[in-house]
Symmetry: C2
Subunit: 195 residues, 2 copies
Amino acid sequence: MARKAGSHAEITGPAIREAALKLFARSGYAAVSMREIAAEVGVQAGALYLYTPDKQTLLFELMRGHLEDLLAAWADIPEAGAPADRLEAFVRFHLGYHLNRPDAVFLAYMELRNLTPENFAVIEGLRRRYEAELEQILIAGHEDGSFRMPDARVTAMAMIAMLAGVHVWYRPDGRLTPDRIERIYVRLARRMVKA
Amino acid sequence: MARKAGSHAEITGPAIREAALKLFARSGYAAVSMREIAAEVGVQAGALYLYTPDKQTLLFELMRGHLEDLLAAWADIPEAGAPADRLEAFVRFHLGYHLNRPDAVFLAYMELRNLTPENFAVIEGLRRRYEAELEQILIAGHEDGSFRMPDARVTAMAMIAMLAGVHVWYRPDGRLTPDRIERIYVRLARRMVKA
DNA sequence: GTCTATAGATGGATAGAC
DNA sequence: GTCTATCCATCTATAGAC
């Protein structure tokens, strides 16, 4: 990936974020050096600081960007439908979105510990907004009688954890297609609320 | 925590593992220095190497010890009962065991990336043995007709992820008692297999 | 915009006194 | 068994040439 000197501002910035995302997800934020990121991009370590003030901000922006994209993508999905349909839409959306961005998802769930307190508060807020979307669906279903569940908050957290766990075993070349996986999880989610 | 020179072999060894577990769980393996662990115990950094050959082995032994204890504790529970009862026993066992050892559980799920390939293989083998215990219960229930589920392997992984996710939000001083949480998760697990 | 070079701090691990 | 002192590698971040 070595590269001669020259101007490449338009591609280097995204390339740095892409490389950092890949390496952070693979080895963990604290275990990855700025030199490794630079080497992956094909620049020297010093050049990274033209695009990020420091390593912490690089991590923070990756996580914030992912969660804001996630919330924006969910907001784009029409809200119409009964709670059971909303639940199916959420499960399919979540899996479809996450299976295509395993590194970003992994980062957002695993590197919370490595954020400064201020940055953590921002990321945690975004994460809670997303979880609240599912909780609202469950509560709506509970109120109109289409769902029955022991505890809306716990059921929402259990469902989020179940969905997030897919990244542990999912392989693109594995036994199950994404569509088949979505179908299985839709059934499991519906059963959890007796939809 | 400072301490004068002297002989404390019986207490220092466990104290080091306890401190390492706490700090690794809180900040992540790569972010914790040997000096920090030593300071937490109240000894100098050099003294740690009387008890562990290196930092990697310290992490590995913590994870191995936890998983072997977990498997031994589950093996101690009588096997008798129908699949539905076995499932309830597993859910209660898992939550009871994990809610009391949040740091060890967190470590075992989060620090796999920081193991050497040889150590990873050992830990991954132990983890799979544990997951297989649940999968066997689901398969037994499927075979005797007491459970119905879309896919035993996926359902087992979904259930494990759901249970493991409790550590994300559980607080000992929170709204729900451990027993109440166990009851909720037993119901959710049963619903997932239509028990 | 990227490079080389390096400051300044911190890391894991070891040696030898007590 | 623990301490002090230290080696040497590596890290983040910066300075200045091109």
